[in-house]
């Protein structure tokens, strides 16, 4: 009987080309959308990646991910105001803040599943929103928000939009590569297994709590990272960065692209941003069409756009083979 070694260990060349493909894809849409929007798209894609590691891979849907994005955004701004205007240091501080909020809230949040998990995130997000808007309005600028100023670095001048674009694209590729490593490791198998049957994973000898916590921290850290990058791009922060009602955006993007896939997250991010940016300029109540798009996804494309493409490809392959 033939062992499956060769089939399993043989890799298709596509698996090594994914990072260049993503880079080229964004360079292609750059002249179509203009540099500001493309940068915006890329940052949103990083956020979707951070969200999807929790939702798509581990099966925990969060309604409060804006909190983690907002943590990054506000840390970035406040750090530049009070501590240092070095943008790289400020980004680093935001990443640390994102990880820290994951470490602190994680033990409470990851104990829950399903609706409880979604709502407890939302609850914490509401608390964060209140703190920013009312309780600490003197420090955060309240409803008006505040602007962030960064010093010019000799080797990276973030005053130049092209530099910001290049840097943000680099960050996306880095995040993607990091998550790809993660999800194709035994740890990746573990979190996918938790999604399917957590009790069974315990009976394989793993303390699922720890791994859920780690995944949660990864998710909050990446979300905070994307929050920090948006401040780098916009130069100011408002409470909309932590507004609980905006959590829907990232959920839609993950669903449209296909949860449980990194490519899907990026495609979902781009599709969502295209709808929300362009449809909005033609149709005032564009959200209705977002609803229709979601209906199509729910009824026709259960695995999202990316899952649909993979499915088509596999079907063709099978037809060709026999």
């Amino acid at each position: 009987m033939e062992r499956a070694d060769t089939r399993l260990i043989k890799r298709s060349i596509w698996q090594y080309l994914d990072v260049p493909i993503i880079a080229v894809a964004f360079l292609i849409i750059l002249p179509l959308l203009g540099i500001n929007r493309t940068t915006d798209f890329i940052i949103f894609c990083i956020f979707v990646l951070g969200f999807n590691i929790l939702y798509g891979f581990m099966g925990r849907l969060s309604f409060g991910h804006m909190l983690y994005l907002g943590t990054g955004a506000y840390t970035m701004t406040i750090f530049s105001e009070h501590i240092s205007q070095n943008p790289l240091l400020a980004i680093l501080a935001s990443i640390v803040a994102g990880a820290l909020i994951g470490v602190i809230l994680g033990p409470i949040i990851v104990r829950t599943t399903g609706a409880c998990f979604a709502l407890i995130n939302l609850a914490f997000c509401q608390v964060g929103f209140f703190l920013v808007l009312v309780a600490f309005s003197r420090q955060t600028g309240g409803e008006d928000g505040m602007s962030a100023n960064f010093s010019k670095l000799s080797f990276l001048n973030f005053g130049n939009k092209a530099v910001v674009f290049g840097f943000v694209l680099f960050c996306l590729l880095l995040t993607y590569y990091f998550l790809k490593k993660f999800t194709s490791s035994p740890f990746g198998v573990l979190i996918k297994s938790i999604k399917e049957n957590e009790t069974r994973v315990k009976f394989l000898g793993y303390n699922t709590f720890t791994y859920k916590w780690v995944t949660f921290i990864i998710s909050t850290t990446i979300s905070a990272f994307s929050g920090a990058l948006s401040i780098l791009n916009y130069g100011y922060v408002t409470p909309s960065f932590i507004d609980p009602t905006r959590a829907v955006e990232v959920i839609f993007a993950a669903l449209i692209g296909g949860s449980g896939s990194l490519y899907g997250s990026i495609i979902g991010g781009v599709v969502y941003m295209t709808i929300s940016n362009y449809l909005a300029s033609y149709i005032p109540r564009w959200e209705m069409f977002l609803g229709f798009a979601l209906l199509v996804v729910v009824f026709r494309l259960r695995t999202g756009v990316w899952g649909f493409i993979v499915g088509m490809f596999n079907k063709r392959q099978k037809v060709l083979e026999g």
Binding site: A4, K181, P186, V189, L190, E196, R200, F203, G205, T208
Partner: protein
């Protein structure tokens, strides 16, 4: 107490809202023994397994593993001690490829790695992990299906996969919950050949409904009825026991009366 008893329960009792599912069970087995647990539906066999593996905490009583009290040890730690189980309804990860089901168990909590970080960054489809996984699948004779999705497997193959996962965890004591349920006659023969092969290296407990399937595997039979252990001994002796016959086939004189 006993130096070489592998697992022992002392007056283990569990109640759910007043219903006593396992009632005062004193059970003890030596290392290397093979024990079968039989009993009618709802006798508490699976609940007894859940007590041994830590899914439920006993309301009263203690559970000892190799002389050490493990009553409050969580399930995942019991697995690392060597208490491995399978489930009544076959429990594998349908959404993963067959081979990935084995990845987590063959790397054995990362102890096969030099450092903890490798758990997060090594490629799970790398040669080293895959070789171990395929070797395990070979034991069960399903390595040719390694790259299928688990959902595409037949029920019998899923059962074999589940046993492969259990074996790859290096069990000291293996608890099989109705391993033959839902299998074809041929698959039952295949699986019992494998169980007979591995039982020399470990202690074995099998829950089974049909006595005929396990009499040639186990040397000792326990009968559970309404949460209690009502008989314990060699199969011939247990099967000729009056109370056991009553539980399984009803009162004989009762039958004659009604005729």
């Amino acid at each position: 107490m006993s130096a070489n008893s592998i697992i022992e329960t002392k007056k283990a009792t569990i109640q759910f809202n007043g219903l006593t599912a396992v009632d005062n069970v004193d059970f003890r087995m030596q290392a290397g023994e093979a024990v079968g647990i039989i009993g009618p539906n709802g006798a508490g066999k699976t609940t007894f397994f859940n007590l041994l593996t830590g899914l439920y905490l006993p309301t009263e009583g203690n559970i000892l593993f190799a002389g050490r009290d493990i009553t409050r040890v969580p399930p995942y730690k019991r697995v690392t001690l060597g208490i491995i189980r399978t489930f009544q309804l076959v429990s594998v990860f349908d959404s993963l490829p067959v081979i990935d089901n084995l990845a987590l168990s063959t790397i054995r909590f990362g102890e096969n790695y030099g450092s903890k970080w490798k758990f997060f960054f090594t490629d799970v489809h790398g040669e080293k992990i895959m070789k171990n996984c395929l070797d395990q699948l070979d034991v069960m004779g399903i390595s040719d299906k390694a790259d299928l999705m688990t959902s595409e497997l037949s029920y019998g193959d899923k059962r074999k996969l589940e046993i492969a996962v259990a074996l790859s965890l290096n069990p000291k004591i293996l608890l099989l919950d109705e391993p033959f349920a839902g299998l074809s006659d041929q698959e039952i023969t295949e699986v019992s050949v494998i169980i007979n092969k591995v039982k020399a290296t470990l202690s074995l407990v099998i829950i089974e409904h049909k006595i005929s399937r396990i009499v040639d595997i186990v040397k000792r039979l326990c009968v559970m009825h309404e949460g209690r252990l009502i008989a314990d001994g060699p199969p011939e002796q247990v099967l000729s026991d009056a109370t056991v016959r009553e539980v399984y086939w009803g009162k004989e004189e009762g039958l004659t009366c009604s005729v």
